[in-house]
Symmetry: C2
Subunit: 276 residues, 2 copies
């Protein structure tokens, strides 16, 4: 516990030093600070309800209402494909930054390294602070160029460890042979170990599987924070995920489709704060 406080003090000093030096905070430090100030809810701006105005203005309107209650924004192809990265999306990213929120691109990178680098560079150039990637693709000519690009630009890489959907057990839950020990291990344990070894800035574990969160948290400790999607619409429970070790909670439709998105976000934040 003392060690933990010491680490936290150092991280705050380092954040303060960076700010005074005029350098941008790294993604990881921005998340730490925002998490403390604004609570642990990450807004997923995926499904945007119909209404007056175009998709871009409706998306920004929700962000403007919800921003006091969330610590970061996560975007996915729901908006990137119709709006375009360097037109509409860049405006949402700029708006989020003006509101003090880092922005995560949930692109689940899983191509060959040469292409992964191009994908990461494009998202980082458009202003994103972190990308989500799939460790299944491996390191050499796989995710190595993504981590290199992120380190060079002070951006973040978050790895998928166990997803929130039903068929997650088919891949993330399968048993695989560990080449070193010649023993069987769950795939998500292998992925959590990669997240640790590769110094990822976060690990995604679906809130729909609290027992998996607990197992992954035992491997990662405080070194790699757990992000949990799947709360609300997908059936995940904030309390169970929090008790199991999730640090950030990614919430989409339960906020964006609520009658009052700001109230919904605030309620999730208050519930999360009571658990901390």
């Amino acid at each position: 516990m003392k060690l933990h406080r010491e680490k936290r003090r150092k991280s705050l000093i380092s954040a303060e030093r960076l700010r005074r030096s005029g350098l941008a905070l790294s993604f990881r430090l921005k998340m730490e600070e925002n998490g403390k100030d604004k609570g642990p809810i990450v807004l997923a701006l995926d499904r945007i309800p119909e209404g007056s105005g175009d998709l871009l203005s409706r998306s920004i309107a929700i962000l403007e209402k919800v921003h006091p209650y969330v610590c970061a924004l996560k975007l996915n192809r729901h908006l990137v494909l119709p709006l375009g990265l360097f037109s509409g999306i860049r405006r949402i990213v700029d708006k989020a930054h003006n509101l003090g929120l880092p922005v995560i691109m949930d692109c689940k990178i899983n191509d060959v390294g040469y292409t992964n680098r191009v994908i990461a560079e494009n998202y980082f150039n458009a202003g994103f602070d972190a990308v989500i990637a799939n460790p299944f693709v491996g390191w050499e000519e796989g995710l190595q160029p993504v981590f290199e690009t992120a380190r060079r630009l002070d951006k973040g890489v978050i790895l998928l460890v166990y997803m929130s959907h039903k068929a997650a057990s088919e891949g993330y839950g399968q048993k695989v042979l560990d080449r070193e020990t010649n023993k069987l291990k769950p795939q998500y344990v292998v992925f959590a170990e990669k997240a640790l070894a590769w110094k990822a800035d976060g690990a995604v574990v679906g809130a729909t599987y609290p027992s998996k969160i607990r197992e992954v948290h035992e491997i990662l400790g405080a070194k790699v924070p757990i992000y949990s999607p799947g709360i609300g619409a997908q059936g995940g429970d904030l309390k169970a995920a929090s008790e199991a070790g999730s640090k950030y909670f990614i919430i989409g439709r339960s906020i964006t489709l609520a009658d009052n998105p700001a109230e919904a976000a605030k309620a999730f934040r208050e519930a999360a704060k009571r658990l901390m």
Copy 2:
């Protein structure tokens, strides 16, 4: 062999019937026809060399030069992210269609089903004829909505089975426990079996691993054609891939960065035809 000829005759009849009925050919049939007419090379328009004109016009210029020697076009995030799906990319897709080429989107779908459906719908709405997806994500709330969307619109789904990069062995090459038989199996065998069970329109196996192509071809036979990227720049060999069972060869930089892209594409096509 007789059975094979019979199947082919039926497929031609069915293509002819569809054409006469005024309905669009399915992706699978378009590929069959084009492969016979124009050879088995799929152009990957990824890396576009610098030159006069913007990225869009340079991309279309290469397509115009190369189209007589290829049977399809494949796009990836190299162009989608900078050009935007419903602006620049749509123009490239329309141009390819005017030149008689189906267009494959190499988006390696691997999200939850709800998002996968949105991704597939966006690409299909922009005119793409097929999407590439990662079977690691599983079926229920995973790739099921992608296959459903593709079937409804007569589009194609191609599954990753073994990729072309070095670290492919980490994920695609790992040994996994088969739940039914309780025996260890290579991951790519599991994926090939999913491609068969889910009636995929193609399976991607890197040309850099001919022995894997052979193993996968033994499982898939003529039911699911093998697409092999990684020829040229990544070190894969057309002859070895063809002899092992690949049906289509995805070639990018070795054509787009050649001094004369048309000549390069033609040379690959002639080499491939000699092997058939």
